[in-house]
Amino acid sequence: MAFGVSLAVFALVHLSGDPVLLMVPTDAPPEVVAETRRALGFDRPLPEQFARWIARAVQGDLGVSLRNHRPVAGLIAERMPATVELTVAALVIAVLVAVPAGIVSAVNRGTWIDSLTMVGAVAGQALPVFWLALLLIAFFGVHLRWLPVYGHGTLAHLVLPAVSLSTIVLGRLARLVRSSMLEVLGQDYVRTARAKGLAEPRVLAIHALRNAAIPVVTVLGLQFAQLLGGAVVTETIFAWPGVGRLVVEAIFNRDFPIVQGVVLVVSLIFVVVNLLVDVAYVVIDPRIRVARA
């Protein structure tokens, strides 16, 4: 998997033309170009370059930036905490809003509460994240002056970017929680739980939600990639010092080792998150534990 991603990324970057020409001054004599090429190993055959890149990558060496010659791994490590902070905050907001909304919607199926919540969810799915970000900046940042509109540091700085980013998954999540709850609420064990006189909140929280959680967690894991992708846009708008902004700057500078490194690292994070989702199944559903034992 990781190998496939690296191969794809490597192929992509090497379709882009000669990186050496981007590094030397435009009026550099051919000898200088050739010398730079040899010094950086760009004169080797492509399979060899790939093998070297992989061999270094597994040791944590992702090459150096073409611009400032700093190690790519270091640059990513520097920026990653901010991105993790942003995506996790967005995920928490999405779950805190979407799960109750989905449950309320399912419990009140067919009423105006249901309709209103689902209209909100459908609208949320259609909202371009960069537009919402601009609207939030204009209203809460510029008009009301409640929250800072760019930069990173305090909790207040986190609010607007995290809220913008959360809409990427919020609507979809709320709809999924609703449909998943509706399915579970029709099951025999829910009827049994009610019949034995359990209070409704307990039925919902323990008996229904836990069973409804499996598809929700699966989708959350898959959607995490979209959150990481959305971070690219959000970070650019809010001047958030994460890997998303790093990669956009790198694209404009044609600094491809950084692009290569970020795509690789982000994909690995996605793979790890989905492994964690598999672990979460076992926690949520003891039947899976039994089946595996």
């Binding site: 970057v13 371009p128 609207l135 959305g230 694209i251 996605f270």
Partner: protein, 274 residues
Amino acid sequence: MKHAGLPFWLAVGALLVVVLGAAFAERLAPFGPGEQDITQRLQPPALRGHVLGTDELGRDILSRLLYGGRVSLLVGLIAVGLSCPVGMLVGVTAGYAGRRVDDVLMRVTEVQLAIPTILLAIAVIGVLGPGLSNVILTLTVTGWTLYARLIRGETLAVKERDYVVAARAAGAGDLRIMGRHVIPNVLSPVIVVAVFAVANMIILEATLSFLGLGVEPQVVTWGRMLNAGRLYLATAWWLMTFPGLAIFVTVLSVNLIGDHLRDWLDPRLRRSLL
């Protein structure tokens, strides 16, 4: 079929307005999309003259919206029109051929699934360079896996059905079975997925334009209008409000129509697409 409610017809109406507006932009637009009038710069919306106001170069926002809609709709439709057949071909081949071919093709789609769409798109466009055809190519590259995975699953299911077995017994070749028996049976989920994909492509194109990685600078798009408008969000709200609204309404309409189509064509998909 579920009775089509008010939201569905509102969506059809809104989409019709957007499509007709884009198609007849020359006739409908009160001004040219690039027509500058420095004396009229940053005018707020007014009942006379510039209905939706003007931008920092005195260009009419309404006219630019109408012309910008062309790029959004065309790019969305063409990207889906290209990625859908490619994905279908890969999916049918993987599902039908099985074993080695299936393994290789599905590994490729898994790899692509692990890379966030926007990140992949900006990496591809960064390599290719901006421009209309590169944007379309990029969206196609990011979009085909969706159909491939869907079609493969459906093909695996259909392959074992009696009518396919019967067709084979009657001596039909692989190509004929795929073309005449498998593909028609998996078409309805594909149509539903493709409709939602148009909406996603419109957002993705706007995102690329917004980041400054979209089509040629002289071409007006909603995403680029938004990007220019962000500099004036404190002083001229109309610059970033209307293009965003246009994207939002278009995407919402397409999604609502897609929801309805799904319920109509293939209720089984409800769960997997939500």
